[in-house]
Subunit: 288 residues, 2 copies
Amino acid sequence: MSDNNLDLALLYLQSVVTQIEVHLKRYLAISNPPLLYQAMQYALLGGGKRFRAALAFLGAYGEEELAIPAACAVEMVHAYSLIHDDLPCMDNDDFRRGKPSCHIAFGEAIALLAGDALLTKAFETVMELKNNSLMASLELAKAAGAAGMVGGQVMDLEAENKKLTPAELGTLHAKKTGALITVALKMGALSAKREKFLASLTVYGENIGLAFQITDDILDVEGKASTLGKTPGKDVILNKSTYTTLYGLEKAKQLAKEACVRAQKAAIGLPGEEILLGLASYILSRKS
Amino acid sequence: MSDNNLDLALLYLQSVVTQIEVHLKRYLAISNPPLLYQAMQYALLGGGKRFRAALAFLGAYGEEELAIPAACAVEMVHAYSLIHDDLPCMDNDDFRRGKPSCHIAFGEAIALLAGDALLTKAFETVMELKNNSLMASLELAKAAGAAGMVGGQVMDLEAENKKLTPAELGTLHAKKTGALITVALKMGALSAKREKFLASLTVYGENIGLAFQITDDILDVEGKASTLGKTPGKDVILNKSTYTTLYGLEKAKQLAKEACVRAQKAAIGLPGEEILLGLASYILSRKS
C-alpha cells in the first residue's frame, strides 16, 4: 500500500464534503413548517465526514453525478439515525460533533419528528435516481430497517451488561453500521448501471464496515477526547462487549488489519480502485 | 343517500379488517432480533379500523389483490405514527385502543425503533406493487414526510395554546391526517393502473379526510369515553384550536356535512361508487 493511494482517498473525501453540502441543501430547502425544516437542516448540514456519501459516489466512480440522489439519501438516513440515537431514551447524548444535539437545540418532540422526516425524505430522494431507482430504494429499505440498521440498534441495546459471543458481536455490527456502508456502495453502483460490480463492492463494504467498527472500539480505548470529538472510555462505562474487550487490544488491531486486507483484495479491478484501496488504509489509520 | 350504501361500506370495512391481518402478519414474520419484531407486531396487528387499508383497496376496487402491498404499507405508516405520537415527549399516552401503548409494553427505546422500522418496512412493502410501484412509493413518501403527515404533526405541536385561523387549521389537518388518507386511495388506483381516476379520488380523499377530522373534533366534545375508546375533552384541556372551538358545534356539523357531500359528488362514476358513497356517510355518522 503506497501513501499515494491514502492521499488520493483523503482528497476524494474532502471533495465530497464540499460537493454534497450543496445537494443536501437543495433537497432540504426551507418550506412549511419552517421549524421542522430547520431541525432537519441542523442535523443534516454542516458536519460529518460524509463517509457514506463518498461510498455512494465511489460505487459510481467516474459518473458520480448519477449517484447524487443515492449519496444524499444515505446521508439523510445516517443523520436520522444519529438524531434518534442521541435522544434521552436512547444514548442520551447532549452533544454531537461539538454542537448541542438536535433535541437539545429543538426539543425532543421536534427532534423525533425531524428524524422521521429525514428517513422519509431519504426514500423520496433515492427514488430520483435515473437508473435502477426501484432496486436502489429497496436495498436502502432493507439496509436501514429491521433486518439492517434498526435491527442492529436493538441488538446493541440488548447487549448492554451482557457478554456477546464473537459471532453475535459480528452480526450486531454488520447490521448496525455495516449494512448502511455496504448499501451506499451498492446504490452508487446501481445508479451507474454497474450491476456486475455489486458482489465485489459488497465484500469491500462489509470489510471496511468491520474495520471501521473495530477501529472505533480501539479508539474508544486509545483515543484522546481532543482528537476524537467525543468522550473515550464510554463503552467500558456501559459495560459493552467490544472487539477490544472480547479479543484484547492487539488481537483487535490484527482483526482490523485483516478486514482491511480483505476489502483491498475485493477492490482490485474495480473502477476507482486506487481510492478504494486508500480509503481502506485510511479507515485503519484514522485517529477520529 | 340510502342506508343500503352505508351497510355496504360497513361490510366492506369488516371484510378488510379480517383480510389485511393475514398480510400484515406475513410481512412482519418474527425474525432477528425477535424483540424488535414483537414490538412492531404489537403496534401493527390486532387492532384498528383499517380505514386506510380499506381506502387503498377501494382505489383498486374489483382488483383489490393488486393493492395488498399498498394497503399494508399505509397501515404500517399509520402504526409507526401512532407509536411515535404516544411517546412521552409527544402526546404521552399510556394507552392505545384499550391496550398499553407500545412504549409502556416495550420501553421507550424499543418503541422508538419499532416505529422507525415500521416506516422503513412500509417503503420496502409498497415497492412490491406489480404496477406503478415507483410512483406509489414516491407519493407515499411525500404524503408521510415533512410536506405531509410529519409536517402536520409539527404544526399541531406549534398550535398548542395558540389560536389558529381557519386556513391554518385546514392546512394542519390536510397534512396531518388528510395526506395519508388521500395517498391510500391514490396508491390503490396506481396499483390497478387507474391513473384516470386519480384526480377524482384525490378530491374524495381530501374531503373525507376533512369530514373525518371535523367529526373527531365533534366527538371530542359530544362523545362518551365508553364508545370513543379514549378520553373526550382532551382538546379543550390542551387549549387546542379545533373545528368546534373555531366555528362552534352547529357550524362544525354543517362543515362536516358539506365536505361529505363534496366527497360523494367526486365518487360518482368511480369503481366501487356505492361503497365510496356509503363510507362518506359512515364517517359523518360514526360514534367512535
